[in-house]
Amino acid sequence: MGPRTTKDPLKQWRKDAEALSYEEALQAADLLLNQLQNDSIPLTELQQTYQRGQIYLDRCERLLEEVEQTVLQLDPKTMTTAPLDAGGTR
């Protein structure tokens, strides 16, 4: 990972969030929420924390709305997978 762009941290956070799975992003948001509720975030970082939290939640939402499910078929002869062809439905 390269040096963080201090000029636009939002961009960097969004980029970081893109690499996370749904569960990871949700967990990251929960961690921040927990810290907020424990009063362990200093005043100067509050705004950032809110923004980061929202970014993680954006990632979760986008995954749920946009992801196309991957469906593969396992060929027993070759033991390899390939996308299930459209004939999978009657």
Binding site: S21, Y22, E23, L26, A29, D30, L33, L36, Q37, L46, Y50, G53, Q54, L57, C60, E61, L63, L64, V67, E68, Q69, T70, V71, L72, Q73, L74, P76, M79, T81, L84, G87, G88, T89, R90
Partner: protein, 396 residues
């Protein structure tokens, strides 16, 4: 020949006539519910006796048909046979030619009970052995027939519910005596597990009659399922169909759709949870801001009380009151109204005519200055009551 004379046949003619009669006059296809007795394969053909306790008849499934049969009865099992009559004219022998044979429901249920009690007694069927299902499976293996409505239901439900989970489908036959093939598929899946790393297995088959599901009562198949390294979810048949496979599974779902619902988290619920968290973030922000504002206000108020104590305010107002009183009592007011003060040249105030002699020099003090005068004469007012002695005058 007379009308009552019976016909005369040679044996061949007799048998031929019987054969034609049967061919013309008997149902070309029929069903028989019976118990199969002593099935034996001779020269590739399956011979057995069909009986109902009252009567019996021979039945045969020719080799070509035997290959196609989904089910071969054990001795004493109830069966339903679709058949036609075979009549051998040479020896006037009769048999039911089996076109299709299926176990009767009671046969199926009896097998189910037998396998179930066996596996229960061995502890293979044990509710305590059921593993919990993965919370958020990344990849799920699906064993079902391809294509099929079961598969279609599974794909649709999975896509709606949690599109993030990857599905790996492996086709299996689900009709007929295919337990061995399903077992083989399970074994292949085991071998592939290391590479694929699925989190769970779904074994699914769409609805049919209970007899159609008999393959899922197969003992060896069920043992294989019970020892499968991943949690197994079954979705077999309809709501009311229970097979041994359902009993050894870690979770039994009523249908293929229900299997996916059990295994996958709900996208709708997750959306609500995300909204809830957003709300918590926003709420926290407003709550925190409000709390800080309150604290600040409290501090400001404390400071105000310290720098301007009420005592000072009180003192100031008291001072103000005295000032006003003083002003009210001051002679300046009287002078301003036109009254004058009479004084001796030494500044003593004169209040009585008796203190003044003729030719005495006096000072008349007005609001804006004084006048030096000389008394001409004095006159005493007979009505007034002197409240001071003549000699009682203020001297400095």
């Amino acid at each position: 020949m007379t009308a009552d004379a019976p016909p005369t046949y040679s044996v061949q003619e007799l048998n031929g006539a019987i054969g034609s009669l049967l061919e013309r006059g008997f149902a070309p296809r029929f069903l028989v519910q019976a118990t199969a007795s002593r099935p034996q394969v001779k020269k590739g053909h399956l011979w057995l006796t069909l009986t109902d306790g009252e009567a019996s008849i021979t039945a045969v499934a020719w080799a070509s048909k035997l290959k196609q049969l989904n089910y071969v009865p054990a001795d004493g099992e109830g069966v339903t046979v679709v058949g036609k009559l075979n009549f051998w004219a040479a020896r006037a022998s009769l048999a039911v030619q089996v076109l299709d044979m299926r176990p009767s429901l009671s046969t199926v249920l009896r097998r189910f009970e037998a396998v179930r009690s066996l596996l229960e007694s061995e502890g293979v069927i044990d509710p305590n052995r059921r593993r919990p299902l993965p919370q958020s499976p990344q990849r799920v293996a699906v064993l079902t027939s391809v294509p099929s409505s079961a598969l279609a239901d599974i794909l649709r439900t999975a896509r709606e519910r949690w599109p993030l989970t990857e599905l790996v489908v492996m086709a299996i036959p689900v009709q007929g005596d295919v337990a061995d093939r399903i077992k083989a598929a399970l074994q292949q899946l085991r071998n592939a597990s290391a590479g694929l790393q699925p989190d769970a297995l779904v074994l699914a088959r769409g609805g049919g009659s209970r007899e159609d599901l008999m393959v899922f009562d197969d003992e060896e198949l069920c043992r294989s399922l019970a020892s499968f390294p991943l949690p197994v979810v079954t979705g077999i048949g309809h709501e009311d169909d229970l097979t041994v496979a359902d009993l050894v599974a870690d979770h039994r779902a009523a249908t293929p759709t229900a299997a996916m619902v059990a295994l996958l988290p709900s996208r709708d619920t997750a959306q609500l949870q995300i909204s809830e968290r957003r709300r918590q973030l926003t709420n926290h922000r407003s709550w925190w801001t409000e709390r800080q504002r309150q604290r600040l206000a409290e501090r400001q108020q404390s400071w105000q009380e310290l720098s301007l104590p009420s005592v000072l305010i009180q003192r100031r107002s008291q001072l103000e009151q005295r000032k006003q009183l003083l002003q009210a009592l001051s002679p300046q007011r009287w002078l301003a109204r036109g009254f004058a003060i009479l004084e001796s040249p030494s500044g003593a105030v004169i209040r009585s005519v008796n203190a003044v002699e003729a030719e005495q020099e006096l000072v008349v003090r007005l609001s804006d200055g004084s006048i030096r005068v000389k008394a001409q004469s004095t006159e005493c007012d007979p009505q007034s009551v002197p409240d001071v002695a003549p000699s009682d005058s203020l001297t400095p």
